[in-house]
């Protein structure tokens, strides 16, 4: 449906986007993931025709997407990162304006306004000004304004910035409803959990370049460990000073040789164990008990996109 091919954009000496390419299939939700300043918003701006690219191309159903009035733009709905609403116009007046920009008028416009307000659960606040809304309600209205012309592709540029968890869930309910309708979505974020929840396909960008362009399961396969066990040894301090010092020193190596364990490190009393699967955590804990080690605390966790990003770039997403 959407094809982004070798997009480049330079500002002065800084290469903001450097050969970005990816595709979005019909009905697919693509997560565009990267830290702040990675080039996500610049890429989105070029896809929507807000700025021109230095090189590369964007096509939607084979039609080039560019600046100005063109048919491809009518198939795209943009939810900007900012709350792009007129605070002094009521919610319905905002929607009527943005709908009119796509040629909607009369009864058709009224009907669409009512439908999108219903979708984002703001029907009862249609006559109120956004300045009286909570942050989450404004975000939902921000999404509604992009849906009026029934776009085939909805591009959401960090749509949950500054939103409380409850409102975030409401936004996700809306997006999942849109996804269920078969609409294609591009969702940019630097929040792993959001992208993990929504995306069928993930494009990771850093320093303007695509680092990964795969399904979530394929991305996880890149990691040596799919899960992790962290155990805090209650006896590590005394043992290290006593006759069992040698066995403590070799503990990490011994754990690393256990079945299903991909890595193990011991720092002080904390033992970090990489696992091929969370199911192997139980056998590691049993082995530690058999060896006479007492545990003060332990926890298991599945690896996430944060770990993937860390393994790809060597730095945290929120750096």
């Amino acid at each position: 449906m959407l094809s982004v091919s070798n997009l480049c954009k330079t500002y002065g000496d800084r290469r903001a986007v450097d050969g970005v390419s990816f595709n979005v299939q019909r009905g697919q939700t693509v997560g565009l993931l990267g830290p702040n300043g990675a080039g996500k918003s610049t890429t989105v701006s070029m896809i929507c025709g807000l700025i021109s690219s230095d090189s590369g191309a964007v096509t939607l159903d084979g039609e080039p997407v560019g600046q100005g009035n063109n048919a491809a733009k009518r198939k795209i709905g943009l939810v900007p990162q900012d709350l792009a609403l007129y605070e002094e116009l009521s919610a319905i007046e905002n929607l009527k304006l943005f709908g009119a920009l796509y040629g909607l008028k009369g009864e058709a416009l009224k009907k669409r306004c009512a439908e999108v307000l219903e979708l984002v659960r703001l029907s009862d606040r249609a006559s109120d000004k956004p300045s009286t809304f909570s942050g989450g309600m404004k975000r939902r209205l921000n999404i509604a304004a992009a849906l009026l012309h029934d776009p085939q592709l909805l591009i959401l540029d960090e749509p949950t910035v500054g939103v409380d968890p409850q409102s975030r869930n409401a936004i996700f309910d809306t997006l999942e409803a849109l996804k269920a309708q078969g609409r294609s979505l591009i969702y940019t974020s630097h929040y792993m959990e959001e992208v993990e929840r929504l995306a069928d396909h993930i494009v990771i960008i850093d320093h303007g370049k695509v680092l990964a362009d795969e399904s979530p399961s394929a991305l996880y396969q890149r990691l040596p460990a799919q899960a992790a066990l962290r155990a805090e040894l209650a006896d590590a301090g005394a043992a290290a000073a006593g006759p069992d010092a040698a066995s403590i020193a070799g503990l990490a190596d011994a754990v690393a040789r256990l079945p299903g364990v991909t890595s193990a490190t011991l720092q002080g009393a904390v033992l970090d164990v990489g696992l091929a699967d969370t199911a192997h955590a139980a056998s590691v804990l049993c082995w530690l008990a058999e060896q006479g080690h007492k545990l003060a605390h332990f926890a298991t966790a599945r690896t996430n996109l944060e770990d993937i990003f860390l393994s790809l770039t060597g730095r945290s997403l929120r750096d």
């Binding site: 021109s52 009035n69 009518r74 900007p80 900012d82 792009a84 116009l89 920009l101 796509y102």
Partner: protein, 435 residues
């Protein structure tokens, strides 16, 4: 077209809902125009105010008293007689612009100086340095009174006869070897005969009424002309409010233009501009919609401001069609000025500061505060490159000057040319930013 209309409608709704903007752009120019208009002569129905001066009469001679009385009787002056110290204090504290001192013996000395080379007596005038133009006016009126009363005394008064007799006695001895003194003796001899005939005429008529007779009916020299003042313009009677409404209207409507430009910068900051550009409208359409709405608001404001001027302050629009032409062109120029600010402004805050400063300079040089004809000549020539000058002059021409369509077309044409330049620069800049 639907998109364009929706964008214009949105701008108009937002403007009307913004009470602060309405207050600033509509009420303020009317209040300030009323104030400045009253300073510049109001509606022309009241006469110009009298000049307050002090007179210190130290010369108790007839001449001294007559000069003081003459000043008091002048229609252009409001005279207060004070002591020297009081007069100086009043001028020093700015309570009076000028104080005239008629020193002791002034009448006698001035009479002598009229026909001889004796030293001229001084007439001290104290003035407030901030009111130097008033000094010139008072000097003119004082000269008239001194010449009239001193010459009358010399031709007809007792002092004049005494001076003639004494001078003739002296000259009889000196005229033998000096032809100039002989001529003066002959002149004074003729004067003495004239004075004798005047005395005889007064004796026949009787009474002191004859004292008022003599040369020019005042007994002395008088101004050899009288002026006939007639205000001349092609239009209605001059109304100081007409210019002030033009000037203040131009200023505050340009402020509205600034707000329009800042609105674009704010829309960019808030992401609204991106949302608008993501829609199937061109950048030119977006800018055009903004320009149309700003021009409509500007024209509406101009009409409202002048409606107030017409209804309350009796401003007359002598050439309504020309007024509409000038107004429409000014509205378009304002809209393009706003676009220019949006195109070249980096942040709303910085752009607002710079734009307000630039606007104040433009309206000052455009003659919005004081009419451009009071500018020095070089500045009058220089300010033809200022668009506001054409706007203010155009509105003046269509109101109290009552000029024809040629003046309207000249003003409108130049403003449109400025608008075209502003629009081209703005679009070029916006497009460059989109790249």
């Amino acid at each position: 077209m639907t998109a364009l209309l929706a964008l214009v409608r949105k701008d108009l709704i937002l403007y009307v809902n913004d009470k602060r903007a309405l207050m600033l752009n509509l009420l303020m120019p009317i209040v300030l125009a009323a104030f400045f208009g009253s300073l510049f002569g109001g509606s022309g129905e009241s006469k110009t105010g009298k000049i307050d001066i002090a007179v210190v009469v130290q010369d108790q001679s007839a001449v001294g008293k007559k000069i003081a009385d003459g000043l008091k009787a002048d229609a252009d002056l409001r005279v207060t007689e004070l002591s020297l110290a009081e007069a100086q204090a009043q001028v020093r504290t700015g309570k009076l612009p000028v104080a005239v001192v008629i020193p002791e013996g002034f009448g006698d000395k001035a009479g002598s100086a009229l026909f001889s080379a004796s030293s001229k007596p001084e007439l001290p005038i104290f003035y407030d340095p901030s009111q130097s133009t008033v000094l010139s006016m008072v000097k003119g009126l004082l000269t008239q009174q001194v010449m009239q009363n001193v010459s009358a005394e010399m031709f007809n008064g007792a002092g004049g006869r005494k001076f003639t007799d004494e001078s003739l006695q002296t000259l009889e001895k000196e005229a033998a070897g000096d032809p100039d003194k002989a001529s003066l003796r002959d002149f004074l001899g003729s004067l003495k005969k004239f004075q004798a005939r005047e005395d005889a005429r007064v004796a026949v008529k009787g009474g002191a009424a004859g004292e008022a007779g003599g040369i020019a009916g005042g007994g002395g020299l008088s101004m050899p002309f009288a002026t006939r003042d007639e205000a001349l313009s092609s239009g209605p009677k001059y109304n100081g409010y007409a210019h002030s409404f033009a000037g203040m209207g131009v200023q505050f409507i340009l402020f509205m233009g600034i707000d329009m430009g800042i609105g674009i910068l704010l829309a960019r900051r808030m992401g609204i501009w991106s949302r608008l550009l993501a829609a199937p409208v061109t950048l030119t359409q977006l800018l055009l919609s903004r320009a149309v709405s700003a021009a409509l608001i500007a024209l509406g404001l101009l009409v409202a401001i002048f409606a107030c001027g017409v209804i309350i302050f009796h401003v007359e629009i002598a050439n309504p069609v020309g007024f509409v032409i000038v107004g429409v062109c000014f509205a378009l120029m304002t809209a393009s000025f706003g676009l220019l600010i949006a195109a070249f402004g980096r942040t709303p805050e910085a752009a607002r500061g710079m734009a307000v400063f630039a606007t104040l300079i433009l309206v000052m040089l455009g003659g919005a505060w004081v009419p451009s004809f009071v500018f020095p000549e070089w500045m009058q020539k220089l300010t033809v490159i200022v668009p506001t000058r054409w706007a203010v002059d155009g509105l003046d021409a269509m109101t109290w000057r009552g000029l024809g369509m040629d003046a309207a077309l000249a003003s409108g044409g130049v403003q449109l040319a400025f608008a075209a330049v502003f629009v081209v620069l703005a679009i070029w800049r916006f497009r460059a930013q989109q790249r």
